[in-house]
């Protein structure tokens, strides 16, 4: 049985054994359930093999919600542990594992897929396309992300979770200081998911550049599409750095190379440097789409066109460029001199300028608007002041000399939660509520939605504002406990209370989905929010070909013009439509990737080699496969269109 010892969790506790049982039972229940209701065929035909951007988007969002609750459970445990001084709920090792997985899961497996999910559903519709440029590649992207996320998530019951922080700094993450396989999971699971993200980046750049509706030149694209285009540029140029850094890390940990060691010419700080060369642009990868979502929502519910379209675009381009020249501000205290810190201070502060331009543009859009307070709009309105607080504290952190005081304190933790939660979480919740009727054909309850909005917004501030204060008082981040004499106790207790409020808010969102699925009216129009961009011009539910006739566009708000000024969106007549075929290969290949990743984590070389061959076999299959897609006939389109029109 020695062989199986490696799979044991090195630092077990009753909670982990309980989760093992829970995971086992859940999986059994899922399998039994699917078999009992005879849904295997449906699942395979309609979801596992799909190449439809709308379905892939929905799967992305479901996974992201799942991961939100996983990361949220970690967060609650952290807040519970630090709620009172000298707490013994978790020991140091468990606390390390929990903050590490909280960070990785929330950034890479919650924020990223949520954003990518919304971009999958909305972007092709907004540019008037039938699907993304490479539908099969899109399925590969999703399944690679999904398998990467699942591989990362089994770490806490098989072999132990990574425990070196989401930044995984060396030498702490080296074999000497992180002996369990946890950091192998980190290197390999993120690598697999990262390949998926990189493919998404290429896919969407091509989609936006090549597949726009006739008449839609770049400066007539909706703002969300602009933000997605810029985001994907950042993905394509930033993710290769992560790929390389993780590959070097994998070699250091598995094959004994010395890239990030402190001997033989290695440099541990080189990891920090490479990590942040990717890591800072990554921040903008999750925040720029949020800016796009807010731009759509604010102009829809202020009932005005977006103020300063050109300056919005220019500031996003400026942000994307600046995002590549600021990374050293994450390690001002590393020991490089005043000259380097000075340069990176200035570039960092410069980012506040284009961001400020955008804030003022949103405010001017609201100015004299007829504001409708729907749930998406409430999130957008709350975003502006809260995000500004996060941004202002960011400028404080940008000052290198002052940063020596703030570095690695709870002040920093408060800052990035003040940026990422209103910036990304509020945005995806707003976008999710806003586009929900387009995805599913009914609206989420506004009443429950408003309850959850207030719970989340108020509790968010109760949770994270005290951290600014304890941070300035010297509470370090990632500290698993503290003594009573430090005086951090009461404010940390307040944080814990806020965290419970946040949990209630997120639970209400789930309840809202349940309630609305059961009781919400299905009798809604194709355009329930009275919105402005093309995704609302097609039917609800969206037919698989999106638009029976490709729309023609001549302004940034062609759909609005068609409603208000009689602009003719759909000219021409229905023709047969070329659509891609479904394929099981992306799913199968990603399953093999999962096996490969698992084998690599545990250094099981023979399985790893076989899996590698399997991956290449799948790629070879694709190279030699003759798949020219299929055509939907005119009769079939007209039948679908009539049915969808009649249902209104």
């Amino acid at each position: 049985m020695d062989y199986f010892d490696r799979f044991a969790v090195p630092h077990p506790s009753p909670a982990i054994y309980a989760s093992m049982v829970a995971i086992g039972l859940t999986m059994l229940a899922v399998v039994v359930g699917i078999t009992y209701f005879k849904k295997w065929g449906y699942l395979w035909r309609e979801w596992l093999t799909t190449v439809d951007h709308k379905r892939i988007g929905i799967m992305y969002i479901l996974s992201a919600l799942l991961m939100l609750f996983r990361g949220g459970a970690d967060a609650i445990m952290m807040r519970a542990q630090t709620a009172v001084p000298d707490n013994g709920l978790l020991d140091g090792q468990h606390y390390n594992e929990i903050f590490t997985t909280h960070g990785v899961v929330m950034i890479l497996f919650m924020a990223m897929p949520f954003i990518i999910g919304l971009m999958n559903i909305v972007t092709p519709l907004q540019v008037g396309a039938r699907d993304v440029a490479f539908p099969r590649l899109n399925a590969v992207s999703f399944w690679l992300f999904f398998m990467g996320a699942m591989l990362f998530n089994i770490s806490f019951v098989v072999g132990g979770s990574p425990d070196a922080g989401w930044t995984s700094y060396f030498p702490l993450a080296s074999n000497d200081f992180s002996e369990s396989v946890g950091s192998n999971y980190y290197a390999i699971a993120i690598q697999i998911a990262g390949i998926g993200t990189l493919l998404t980046g290429i896919n969407f750049i091509v989609t936006i550049l090549k597949m726009r509706a006739p008449g839609m030149n770049l400066m007539k694209m909706p703002m969300f599409t602009w933000s997605i285009l810029i985001t994907n540029f950042i993905i394509v140029f930033a993710f290769p750095v992560l790929t390389v850094a993780l590959a070097l890390m994998t070699m250091d940990r598995l094959f004994g190379t010395q890239f990030f060691t402190m001997a033989n010419g290695g440099s541990d700080m080189l990891w920090a440097n490479l990590f942040w060369v990717w890591g800072h642009p990554e921040v903008y990868i999750v925040i720029l789409p949020a800016f796009g979502i807010y731009s759509e929502i604010i102009s829809t519910f202020a009932r005005r066109n977006l103020y300063g379209y050109n300056s919005m675009v220019i500031s996003m381009v400026a942000i994307s460029t600046l995002s590549f020249v600021v990374w050293a501000h994450h390690f001002y205290t590393m020991g490089h001199g005043a000259m380097v810190n000075g340069i990176f201070s200035i570039t960092t502060m410069a980012i506040a300028v284009p961001t400020g331009v955008k804030i003022f543009n949103w405010l001017f859009t609201l100015w004299k608007g007829k504001i409708v307070f729907t749930v998406p709009m409430l999130y957008s309105l709350a975003f502006i002041p809260i995000f500004t607080l996060g941004g202002v504290t960011g400028v404080m952190l940008a000052m290198a000399s002052a940063d020596y005081q703030y570095h690695n304190t709870m002040f920093l933790v408060a800052h990035f939660h003040y940026v990422l939660i209103p910036g990304t979480v509020f945005a995806v919740l707003a976008g999710f509520t806003y586009w929900w009727p387009k995805m599913f054909g009914f609206m989420l309850s506004e009443k429950i939605g408003k309850w959850s909005f207030w719970f989340i917004t108020i509790s968010f501030n109760v949770t994270f504002f005290p951290m600014f204060i304890t941070g300035l008082d010297g509470q370090a981040r990632r500290m698993y406990t503290y003594s009573e004499s430090t005086g951090y106790g009461p404010l940390n207790m307040l944080s814990f209370v806020g965290a419970i409020g946040l949990a209630i808010g997120f639970a209400l969102i789930v309840y809202n989905i349940y309630w609305s699925t059961r009781y919400a009216s299905r009798n809604i129009s194709n355009d329930p929010w009275d919105a402005r961009s093309l995704e609302w011009a097609t039917h609800t539910p969206i037919p698989e070909y999106n638009f029976a006739i490709v729309p023609t566009v001549d302004s940034t708000e062609a759909f609005w013009d068609s409603k208000k000024k009689g602009f003719k969106l759909f000219g021409g007549k229905v023709e047969k439509i070329h659509m891609p075929n479904n394929s099981g290969v992306p799913f199968i290949m990603s399953c093999i990737f999962f096996v490969w990743g698992f084998a690599m984590v545990f250094s099981m070389w023979i399985i790893a080699i076989i899996a590698t061959l399997g991956i290449f076999a799948c790629m070879a299959h694709r190279s030699f496969e003759k798949d020219h897609g299929r055509y939907i006939s005119v009769e079939e389109i007209e039948e679908t269109e009539n049915k969808l029109r009649g249902a209104k």
Binding site: F237, S267, L270, N273, T321, A328, G335, H336, G337, I343
Partner: protein, 94 residues
């Protein structure tokens, strides 16, 4: 006959060979590390540009503008990453 002869391509091919030879000189002659790295960087970027324009036809399609924008953006990111890392890890390190 004159129109049929791919003069540009042949010149480009010859030039790319010359660039390779210049890069090769780094190991033939006993150069300082600094000099060697400068030669390699300069020839590498010239080589990449040559291949893109001459043999991958970057400038010959209707997407010319977006292709070049991409290339310049990529160039910017690459140079910033390389020289920024040099700055933080070596030149500016105390």
């Amino acid at each position: 006959m004159k129109q049929l002869f791919p003069r540009g391509q042949v010149m480009g091919f010859a030039f790319s060979l010359i660039l390779t030879l210049v890069a090769l000189s780094v190991i033939v002659f006993d150069l300082s590390l600094k000099m060697a790295m400068i030669i390699l960087l300069v020839t590498a970027f010239m080589q990449a540009a040559l291949q893109l324009v001459m043999f991958m036809h970057a400038g010959e399609s209707e997407d010319k503008a977006s292709i070049y924008t991409n290339v310049y953006y990529g160039l910017f990111v690459a140079l910033v990453t390389i020289f920024g890392t040099m700055l933080t890890m070596i030149w500016g390190y105390q």
